[in-house]
């Protein structure tokens, strides 16, 4: 029996907090950032968010000026500027620039973001074409009016946030993304394709998005998670939970492996940006966290929001999301051994179906995992050094758990020879 099973007196909130920890998979960076910040409310640790708020320097002067972050290149075509509390991204296109969020205020935008845009070549023929606003809070849309007035740049925002803090509608007259349509769709923002997903919860009109960027010549997909902190309202947190589950589905379907989060302290991007500025951008970029890490973080966020919702409504019971991994046993598959192990933060996953398949030949086989989480079956034919074997677990759901799907792939080897 697992520790969670023994602790019968645990509240639903504690069970989900524990699940968030288990889904981290022992990653100290994720523990320090995503686990801590997404779970700040159920952990009774809101002080870390309030402390981060103190990093929101908008002037470049004063005691917290150290928290400003200069214009920093993150990918081949993406730069960013801001502070350690909230950050704005600038995407260079062939014919202009597209922004993500607009800083806290006109003063901040005119001093820092405008200077950054000029450095990137802003001109009449190379304009700031559009700004995508993740939501309608002032620390994200504070510079939108200045951008409209001085650069003629229109902003995009979820329609439900158009009246957020502005009963008559936002003065900068944004182009509205329909918040009532919760489906993922593509949207051209200044000619840049965004996969957008309305994700109400943080605000009614929050949206999240996936973008393609170029990193050292390679196309990568990055996640913009559009709103982080939760409220004390049951309906809003229920929406937040639903939204983060849909973000997981989007990031999984689009095979996202990088991040561009506005509140960079939330997932540790602030530390990565400091590293870029201190020692340079790595290959891949520091903002490429890897697909598994991005998905783990999202599963952690889901469990943290489940923990908070069950604190606000202590009668609610929510299934636990378990993040699973699968790996071939003893390295690559061979003609005499095709076996893979499925496990998660609770241990091996038993009695679940694993499918092995070879795209090149169409050959496949399926087997159930044993108590050690290992499934094994023969694939005929299997050609060493030619066939790529994919092992996949399609996911499972029971009353208590949602076991998330996972897959891995490796080249078939000769027995005892993988060279």
């Amino acid at each position: 029996m697992t520790g969670a099973g023994l602790a019968v007196a645990q509240t639903q909130t504690d069970v989900h907090r524990d699940a968030a920890t288990r889904n981290v998979g022992g990653d100290p960076f994720m523990t320090k950032y995503a686990r801590a910040f997404y779970c700040n409310l159920p952990d009774d640790n809101n002080g870390i968010v309030l402390e981060a708020r103190g990093w929101n320097n908008q002037t470049g002067t004063g005691s917290n000026a150290q928290y400003r972050i200069p214009l920093t290149q993150i990918f081949d075509d993406v730069w960013g500027v801001g502070n350690h509390y909230v950050f704005q991204y600038l995407i260079k296109m062939p014919d202009g620039i597209v922004g993500v969020d607009s800083s806290n205020s006109a003063a901040e935008f005119s001093k820092f973001n405008y200077a950054a845009l000029q450095t990137l070549g802003l001109s009449a023929s190379y304009p700031l074409k559009a700004i995508y606003l993740t939501h309608g809070h002032g620390d994200h849309d504070g510079g939108a009016q200045w951008a409209l007035d001085n650069l003629g740049t229109r902003s995009y925002i979820g329609s439900a946030d158009n009246t957020l803090g502005a009963a008559a509608g936002k003065s900068y007259k944004p182009i509205l993304i329909d918040s009532t349509n919760l489906s993922m769709r593509t949207l051209s923002v200044g000619g840049k394709t965004f996969w957008v997903l309305p994700t109400p919860g943080h605000t009614p009109g929050s949206t999240s998005a996936v973008l393609e960027v170029t990193d050292h010549g390679q196309t990568r997909r990055v996640l913009i998670n559009g709103g982080q902190s939760m409220t004390n309202s049951i309906p809003e947190v229920a929406q937040y939970l639903d939204s983060i589950e849909r973000v997981y589905a989007m990031a999984s379907a689009l095979n996202v492996d990088g991040v561009m989060t506005p509140h960079i302290y939330w997932d540790g991007e602030g530390e990565k940006l400091d590293e870029i500025n201190a020692t340079g951008r790595t290959n891949p970029s520091q903002n490429i966290y890897g697909h598994e890490t991005v998905m783990r973080m999202t599963a952690v966020a889901r469990e943290c929001s489940a923990a908070w919702l069950t604190r606000l409504d202590a009668t609610r019971v929510l299934p636990i999301w378990r993040f699973n991994t699968i790996e071939f046993v003893d390295g690559n598959p061979t003609p005499t051994k095709v076996a893979a192990k499925v496990q998660n933060g609770w241990g091996p996953l038993a009695n679940q179906k694993v499918t092995f398949s070879v795209v090149e030949t169409g050959a496949s086989c399926s087997a159930m995992t044993n108590d050690e989480g290992v499934a094994s079956c023969p694939i005929r034919p299997l050609r060493p050094h030619q066939d790529n074997v994919t092992a996949s677990f399609a996911g499972a759901q029971s009353a208590g758990f949602v076991d998330l799907p996972t897959e891995t792939a490796a080249m078939a080897c000769s027995n005892g020879n993988c060279k």
Binding site: N46, V49, L50, R53, N56, N104, H137, G138, D139, L164, G165, H202, T203, S229, T231, N232, S233, I234, P235, E236, A238, R311, L312, D313, A314, T315, R316, V317, L318, P319, A399
Partner: protein, 277 residues
């Protein structure tokens, strides 16, 4: 997926047509469509978790609908309640219509009880600032907004209905008693609009040491434990520290999260405290 039954079509049409303001009335009968039933929210206040309930969400002509259905073993889901959602000016209207359940059905008393319990769970999740309309069985909808109920009023009404169901049911399984929890504003500090408080009671007794969550849109909140006199008090904090115009005119929500004990259920509830003028 299953086709929307004629019974359900009629109910949705009646619910939408009787309740909603003219601009939202569904014109003509609801056509055949399909509903995809999913698992119902799981709540520990539901006495019999073995009874299968499902929900489905749909939309027609701008009217959002949630259907609560009971699914007997080997049978298709049978709707037991319909919720419709609409807007009227700045207000959200939520109407809930309970459908008569065949008394001849096996476990009908338990299904009736569970229906009310599931409705409590569903209503708890709705916007507490909405106006609620409720009708039971053959009752006609009363769409007059002055007869609408508040969120907490409807929750109390459902708790009473559940008590009646327990008393009337001949074959009702053993179920834990429900205790309604009430909150009331406990004074206003005009000098500090961020200071919020409620007095929380159950069975007319002050509740000591329970947690109350306060929320003010867009994102201010605080958490307080009640003292011996039932007063829970704290000061709203805005973690994003961006001021909003007329913040002190925005209602404050106070939420008691509920508690399931061996001897009964203290019901979760939310109080909307009107804005200060």
């Amino acid at each position: 997926m299953r086709a929307m039954s004629r019974r359900l079509q009629a109910v949705v049409a009646v619910a939408a047509g009787c309740l909603l303001p003219p601009s939202y009335v569904v014109a003509g009968p609801v056509q055949d469509g399909s509903l995809e039933y999913g698992p119902v929210l799981i709540s520990r206040i539901v006495s019999r978790q073995d009874l299968q309930f499902r929900t489905a969400n749909g939309e027609r002509a701008g009217v959002l609908t949630t259907v609560l259905a009971y699914q007997a073993p080997g049978a298709m889901p049978s709707p037991v309640a319909v919720m419709t959602f609409s807007r009227s000016g700045d207000a959200t209207h939520v109407s809930i219509h309970r459908l008569p359940f065949p008394k001849s059905a096996a476990d009908s008393d338990d299904v009736n009880l569970a229906t009310i319990e599931h409705l409590y769970t569903l209503v708890l999740r709705q916007d507490p600032e909405a106006k609620f309309f409720y009708s039971d069985g053959e009752q006609r909808f009363d769409s007059d907004t002055k007869n609408s109920r508040s969120h907490s009023e409807l929750l109390r009404e459902l708790a009473r209905a559940r008590q009646d169901a327990v008393g009337q049911g001949k074959r009702v399984s053993t179920s834990a008693p429900w205790h309604v929890v009430s909150m009331a504003p406990a004074g206003v500090d005009h000098a500090d609009p961020d200071k919020v408080s409620v007095r929380i009671t159950s069975d007319r007794q002050a509740m000591d040491g329970v947690t109350v969550f306060f929320n003010r849109a867009p994102h201010s909140g605080c958490v307080a434990k009640s003292a011996r006199d039932g007063i829970a008090i704290c000061r709203l904090v805005d973690p994003e520290d961006d001021s909003h115009p007329d913040e002190d005119k925005i209602p404050v929500l106070a939420t008691y999260p509920g508690e399931v004990r061996a001897d009964g259920v203290l019901l979760p509830t939310t109080l909307v405290m009107s804005a200060r003028r």
